[in-house]
Symmetry: C2
Subunit: 348 residues, 2 copies
């Protein structure tokens, strides 16, 4: 029996890049919306947006905005989530939070539906959407773990500027235009909006995403390490990460080295497992130069995996190239899929 | 006693990006040039170039071009080297070859002067300059090997388009301009000039450098693996590589994971060893956002190392971010340094 209930849905951060994508996906996927409430900061309030054929006026988010809301998508930065998520829960909403505010809270499930949808059953009001670079990696790691076991993950990322927001996209385009005109590039946003120093991203690579922690790793690297362990329920998994921002607008790529438990696994075995897994499209035919790229992955829903190779010296080692749209599966799509899985599993 | 001998020098591929850099370095470093012969294909012959205050006319390279030459720099592609290097040697020249034609020939020393200058002593006429991405990595690996031992290397590269020649630089700039104008990007050069399919590099990442081999690795990846083992005299070293082309004009970056033999080595120990090693500048101060980037490394001679971190689960594991100008230390500079070391060691 299909569940025919409809839901009152709020999007906090509705005018942002991810908020807009969430709204588009609710429409495209015919999400059972009874009422859509779009919320933003005071600055963006008053903006009018079309949802299907309905004009919706964006309102300033306040505690009272959540009265009667069933599902609240938060995508307006960690401080907004920290401030307003509790109000939404107190008014009876389930919060699906796209910031890092609650991800490592042991009472908050961190969900990628293909991987650990069942963890949402124990939620206490907030369900967290993982970091973009984590999501696409664990979608590929989970079927490998299930089939061959998994003992080590070492990832180097190739991340798009859209992960740092619309300002970062504009900065890349302005710097590129300046470079082509032989002018100086102005850097005011990247690598991290709130950090002390800024460097050009055009024609460059910045080995810093988010701020540095005391151990010399960036917060982005620690997110990938800690979130991967949490989502896979493997607190002792050996995970390492180096995160790099590049002059790419959308879609993150990852060079991932893994070690599995099982011996004698072939590249064909590995491809078959990935091909059969939910959410993954294998693009891997070296003889015909077929492999995933960020331009091809943009606006697509899947996690693309290619360059699947066995390590030349370690029978249990494999190399993968994993690409996905960081605004889609890395953010808005996974958020909406969490809500869909809550409905399917009758959690909301 | 300084050696005051001067040398008759030829550059084959004199009008190319690397050939021009070699000429500039011979001048900047006051290389003891008695006569400079600039050679090229018939197409570029006749071009006039200033070497210091002397105008030199580029000539078509023929077997007779090498009569009387002491040192011949070859940088005009593997097929030209295969065709003309023997002629140069037969006329008494030492060939320093910047192509992949002879690198893995067991009778040809493959030299990075900071690492294995002494290997040149047994040359039989040709000395090979390694692949750009290999050179900068082994400069950093050698002092680590000497001090702590080395058992494993796993590199993911972030490579600039200039490694694919001037046409690739033009293609990146044209595609970028088209993108900013909202036009379609035309791809005719990258990932590999002679391969079947071409993809845009602007705002993209291409996990293919050079052609694919039958084992699913690219020729570039196999160069890094095999050349590293040869230069370090470690045929059984576990080396893995994933090579990726990016929209960066100059300077390659590398995310390198290593495992060493010694236990209990600290990040400070590792930094000290790298800081004291020839050819390396350590740029590593996370608290002040100090790390190497390709824009900063361009036109510099050093190999820059930063983001030096101990692996969080393996006491013997370390992560490094290695950046260097692929046209300088990765090509022209190393080539000229080989010639300088031949003179110092009285091999030529």
């Amino acid at each position: 029996m299909p569940n025919e209930r409809k839901y009152r849905v709020a999007i906090v951060g509705a005018t942002g890049a991810v908020g807009q994508k969430i709204m588009g996906l609710l429409e495209d996927k015919q999400f059972p919306v009874e009422e859509l409430v779009l919320l933003s900061s005071a600055r963006s309030a008053g903006t009018k947006v079309l949802f299907g054929t309905t004009e919706v006026t964006v309102q300033e988010a306040t505690p009272e905005s959540f009265i009667g809301i069933d599902i609240a998508f938060f995508s307006a930065g960690g401080s907004v989530s920290a401030q307003l998520a509790k109000e939404a829960i107190d008014h009876g909403a389930v919060v699906i939070d796209n910031t890092s505010a609650f991800r490592m809270d042991e009472n908050v499930p961190l969900i990628v539906p293909e991987v650990n949808a069942q963890d949402a059953e124990n939620h206490q009001g907030v369900i967290a959407n993982p970091n973009c670079s984590t999501i696409q990696m664990v979608v590929a790691l989970k079927p490998i773990l299930n089939t061959f076991g998994l003992t080590r993950v070492n990832v180097s990322t190739y991340q798009a500027v859209s992960g740092a927001g619309l300002q970062a996209i504009e900065e890349l385009e302005e710097q590129t235009a300046a470079y082509l005109d032989g002018k100086d590039m102005v850097a005011e946003v990247l690598p991290v909006g709130g950090d002390k120093r800024h460097f050009p991203i055009a024609y460059n690579a910045l080995p810093q995403i988010d701020v540095f922690e005391d151990n010399g790793y960036t917060a982005e690297e620690m997110k990938m390490i800690n979130e991967t362990k949490k989502i896979l329920h493997m607190p002792d998994l050996a995970v390492a990460a180096t995160c790099v921002r590049l002059p790419i607008v959308t879609s993150h790529s990852e060079s991932v080295y893994i070690e599995i438990e099982e011996e004698g696994v072939s590249v064909e075995d590995m491809k078959n497992v990935l091909q059969d897994a939910p959410g993954i499209i294998v693009k891997d035919d070296p003889a015909n130069q077929v492999y995933p790229t960020p331009l091809d992955a943009t606006d697509e829903e899947a996690v693309f995996v290619g360059r699947i190779r066995k390590d030349l010296t370690n029978d249990k080692g494999f190399h993968l190239w994993i690409v996905s749209d960081n605004l889609m599966k890395g953010a808005a799509l996974n958020t909406v899929q969490i809500a869909q899985s809550l409905i399917e599993n009758e959690i909301v």
